[in-house]
Symmetry: C2
Subunit: 359 residues, 2 copies
Amino acid sequence: MNTLQVALGERSYPIYIGPDLLDQVECYARHIKGKQVLLVTNETVAPLYLHRVLMQLRAYNTAQVILPDGEQYKSLDVLNQIFDTLLANKFGRNATLIALGGGVIGDMGGFAAACYQRGIPFIQIPTTLLAQVDSSVGGKTGVNHPLGKNMIGAFYQPQCVIADTGVLDTLDDRQLSAGLAEVIKYGLIRDAEFFDWLDDNMDALLVRDKKALAYAIERSCMNKAEVVAEDETESGIRATLNLGHTFGHAIETGLGYGEYLHGEAVAIGICQAADLSRRKGWLSDNEMGKIKALLKKARLPVYPPDALSTEQFLQLMSVDKKNVDGEIRLILLKAIGQATLPVGVDEQLLRLTLESYKS
Amino acid sequence: MNTLQVALGERSYPIYIGPDLLDQVECYARHIKGKQVLLVTNETVAPLYLHRVLMQLRAYNTAQVILPDGEQYKSLDVLNQIFDTLLANKFGRNATLIALGGGVIGDMGGFAAACYQRGIPFIQIPTTLLAQVDSSVGGKTGVNHPLGKNMIGAFYQPQCVIADTGVLDTLDDRQLSAGLAEVIKYGLIRDAEFFDWLDDNMDALLVRDKKALAYAIERSCMNKAEVVAEDETESGIRATLNLGHTFGHAIETGLGYGEYLHGEAVAIGICQAADLSRRKGWLSDNEMGKIKALLKKARLPVYPPDALSTEQFLQLMSVDKKNVDGEIRLILLKAIGQATLPVGVDEQLLRLTLESYKS
């Protein structure tokens, strides 16, 4: 087991990474203060892993909420089911919430923990690659609104993150690729050496070579932890983690949550951001080609859906947390391994990217 | 205009207290950073004061949400109307939310600001006595759940509180009395001198003597600000502000939100907490009598509703943020002017209070 630390002063916490951590009681026990524990998971993950987690929690008074699986259920309504269960069980402020699942479960579980009685402790047990390398780390929690992704939420840090690499064995190929989109993102925004390593090792990752996967997860978490430690609430550098996300969120919201996996939408968005960076003269055709090729190798989509028009894209992108007083602001690339802070973009240039970059 | 400061490091903010502050643009302007401002108010307050506030905000891009009036609307569902409006207007992270109303509007507006895009600035303009002396100060925000009051929320501090004492002219008598319950509470938990002053000046307060009201508001806010500065997130002393509230919340939840005003339920709860303190031998019969007499003088109820049985009380009180691992913990009084931290109570003694203390 390897341990990385997210350095946030009194809100610091460890990320445990390794095989079969689900079965190691010490990963949990030191982070649970009270006697009450709520497990939040979904219908896909529950039959696979809930029992193994409960086995380690026999010393506690546990309850569970099993939510439907999918981005379309990351809503205020479904969130309320978590509050219902907490209250029906009379769980108090020293209860601990454990989110066992992918990004949706982690985001909703974390937000429920942030709001229940104005904040109870919580633990992230991410069960997808995407959640292990990205969404479980850094304290962004929340739910979607029909008009915008992740628009309702809180910055709320977990007590720890338990990334059991063994659970990736049951992940389907589409989910694996979706996770790789965020892995590639770290290479693009701040770690060119990692980008090259990914270029060399993508085949090993796709056949789930344990050593390669463990390395990719650790290096991704290390990158994320460094950025979050520097800028917890996204007043600056943390926004770079959003490369491709403004385009991606527009795709997710525009087509209806759940149509594209988050990682798939982000992969397309990364290509669009790269294309815009190229039009600005910051990225060479060669770099652009390398980015697109690596995403394709990871079996990710690189073209936006035809169903979404340029006008719809612009409309959807006008609701984004990086925008200021209505102006669209994006993370772009100066080079592979170097992202910009949010920059206002000329609408004509943005239209060119949106129009040209179709299948 | 008097200014009190709530000292919370980088989250510090002023409370402005005085007549006709609604019309003073400088109270608003220095606390609004962006161009977008959302007014959240209710159907009772809007016709009285919304126009006056909007007059001061002509330089901004404003939108408004007018919610129904009453504690029964302090719910996750109604909260969502605020998010709908923010998103429909494409308001960004530098938009400012202004909560213009009583405790319900302040709690919901503050919670919406805490969650929208993971946090936007907000301003409290309390329009009831209760909101001016208590709920607008200190950053407790949230909504009710059918199973428990204020169970979903956040600690989230405003940019400033604008307490215009002139708006109290339009407050009905029942609302005025409800506010006085929280005013009396400050005397009871930490300010015996203020309790005596209230005893001497209750008649002046009830006829809305401007000088007396202004003094009571300032001294209440001063007490609140001191407690909050010492313990922002209620790990200790802040819990004393909850005197009477566990009983009171049980009444509000048990009878259905909106049946009793919050301050009325708290008045009854204060009597019950005082009774329990007397049974523990901490409070004399004389002190108990003085407390009950002052609440009655303020035209507040002092007997719990017959509709609520002892068993229902116990059941409802078992869901409370001060409880630990299921044990009911209450704020009691050692003397007038001296509250305890949350203490576990013998159930037999609690039953005696609940049973004896009926009309």
